[in-house]
Point group: C2
Chain length 478, copies 2
Amino acid sequence: MAKQGSPKYDYDLIVIGCGPAGQKAAIQAAKVGKNVAVIDRRESVGGVCVHTGTIPSKSFKEAVVFLSGYRQRSVYGAGYRVKSDIVMSDLTFRCNRIMQIEIDVIHHQLRRNNIHVLAGTASFVDKHTVSIESVENTTTKTAEKFLIAVGAKPRRLPDIPFDGKNIFDSDDILTMDKLPRELTVVGGGVIGTEYASMFAALGVNVTIVDARKRLLEFIDQEITECLQYQLRSLGVTLRLGEEVKTCEISDGGQVITRLRSGKIVVSDCVLFSAGRVSATEDLHLKKIGVKTDERRRVVVNEHFQSSLPHIYAAGDVIGFPALASTSAAQGRLVACHAYNIKDKRIESDLPYGIYSIPEISFVGKTEEELTEEEIPYETGIARYREIARGHILGDEQGMLKLLFHRETQHILGVHIIGEYATELVHIGQAVMGLGGDLRYLRDTVFNYPTLAECYKVAALDGYNKIRIAQTIEKRGDD
Amino acid sequence: MAKQGSPKYDYDLIVIGCGPAGQKAAIQAAKVGKNVAVIDRRESVGGVCVHTGTIPSKSFKEAVVFLSGYRQRSVYGAGYRVKSDIVMSDLTFRCNRIMQIEIDVIHHQLRRNNIHVLAGTASFVDKHTVSIESVENTTTKTAEKFLIAVGAKPRRLPDIPFDGKNIFDSDDILTMDKLPRELTVVGGGVIGTEYASMFAALGVNVTIVDARKRLLEFIDQEITECLQYQLRSLGVTLRLGEEVKTCEISDGGQVITRLRSGKIVVSDCVLFSAGRVSATEDLHLKKIGVKTDERRRVVVNEHFQSSLPHIYAAGDVIGFPALASTSAAQGRLVACHAYNIKDKRIESDLPYGIYSIPEISFVGKTEEELTEEEIPYETGIARYREIARGHILGDEQGMLKLLFHRETQHILGVHIIGEYATELVHIGQAVMGLGGDLRYLRDTVFNYPTLAECYKVAALDGYNKIRIAQTIEKRGDD
């Protein structure tokens, strides 16, 4: 397709940052004939997602699950592992290979859509011009529209002596040269919990410290409890409702973490994963009048436009939920809005995936939310140990919980913890998105043996519960 | 709940055979207060599904995938395996444990529902009486209604010297004492293909012989081709369109299989998986007037009633599709019909799962069927290598194909080959079952990274194809 061109500017659209949001916006704009460039500060594309975030941590997880024999323990015994002396390079070797493939895939997609890739650090010179500073030189480029998709980075507390040897943040944790014997994880959010569980599965003694009363506060409480139980079984110590006062490296090279309660946690390494801040500091946004908040997040409206309507922002840089999947969706929406691409979308619930060991995924509301909103719901529960594939895979602690409306039997939420959770949730998401109810899940024939059968078992459990409740109500009437 | 009882008979319902069909019928009947017994010829319950069929072969598969390092080869290299000298007991050790758990689960379910389990071989004495012969004694029991759910067993051709040492059928293949160097598999149906692929993944030289021109004739041709390509990559020799003339054991203990074309295949072992026959021979069905066909299948109407309306039959014993999942569904329907349980079911497409390496699953129509029916369809394809989780899992050859109506964009079929295929298919099945179309799959946000993203990539591919087609049509109009 011929480029339409904007004679006044070098490009129709310049995308700053090439993670999931930037890629999808660039490709969508290019597909409707726009002249697009992406600027990335790294030599290669992909953003935090590919380089230090999603892809490395998920590849690491897969390697951990495999090499630690985690899945096989219930079958071959608790001491089972594929490799008895796992070293970091066994685990990250795989990451590097997968990262390289992902980078190649993205490059290929950008090239195929004739999108220019400009390497360097971008900053705004005026409302339509950016300067791009690289090791070799500094150039300027102009565009009619911009997308800021520079992502976020770990928040580094000023008093903590980060050294990339004993004290890490989530961006450099995988550069550690050998597996620690003990690891303290400060922050029990998604990233902290994911890494804590992976290292615990490898046999590292992990302590998690968080000021909140439970891990992952936004997920359903029963699922958190199940997670906390399983983490404790893996040997994890949970210090919840506790705050870190100081963190210092001893002469012996140990890290001493002191908590406000007076407790002391000694470990080889510490991972700080206490929030992220948007990576907007080099962009000179203030100069051109783009508003940001106290965490440097770009403030946007419902169309992802910043305070300057021709400058959009999407992905982690605007904050919650900061998931690769939603960032990609936002990127596409930006291009659709910017170029008036008619795109009547079906609104469906966003899934959340936490790649801890065990994996967690959910869609829709939690029990706490439904109770708060006074929606009369009932639950249907299936445990992996009730179905054949749970045993075959060696996951006997997994569970799937359906929340459904007691009268209409519409599905209000699906909460899963265990193997394949991030995949399985999409079955329930489809039922919710297409207006199906408990009956669909009860009546559908599932392949045998699959974990997907949990939906049927949970639906039957749900029906039993409402039947019992109805019987009791009826007796009350007599 | 109090049993209602049928004073004339010992039981309301006697179920003969305790596989998936028998279990589900018995439980459903018990749940509405019926007095139920199941008769099984084995000491323990479960049927072929648990003992020699589905569960052992699927557990074996999981052990093969794990111990052979099959998933890891694209990451760690083709020679990679977890255990360098895999022996049969490594593989079946896991099976036995899982079988035992499944048996316990079934026993527990039957007991919880007050269902009597009677061990022995059943045969009809009259239309309401069976005799049950066990090692200890012979008893007779009467019932108002019966369900025949005795399943099927491998068809043993008379000229083949089955010995359980060199020449096996699918029921005794897993009893082989050591892994063969070469294995000939006669019959490229589901069971033959599953075992052939598993042994090939273990490094056994496998030859498949089948009179038909391709494996698994009922599945989509592109998927078969993909399977055949991958099997050949694993070193499998395909002798398709070839018939076995003779099969004999040489003095040296090798099996010599001669084909009609004159070819000779020499191997340590042969697996015959050339069809199954219903296990009805001991039931004395003819005596009481229950009709069977030439493969001993019980002939039933749409309510699963035999020629005697109070005697039902379900599961493998009535033939196609002979899958554990559909048998279970049939069993439930039998109880619903027999006891007038109101149960307005949603009819949705049945999924088919083939647990070969790679796994295959589909729902809906194949391209061949749609072409035959002159339905204007288009395809949307996603390859696992296009998405991050494909790389993370090390499956770069998997693919997902959507078939959709070119005008309405309704999903007509979903065909998957690769990791998790049997799980993933249920997302597409839900979309089909609830009347969703390509738009749902394009617009949904999927967890990243997941294989489920294939649906989105395939939907986008499908949209691109119809857009291109529309552009061409439009040009034609000008």
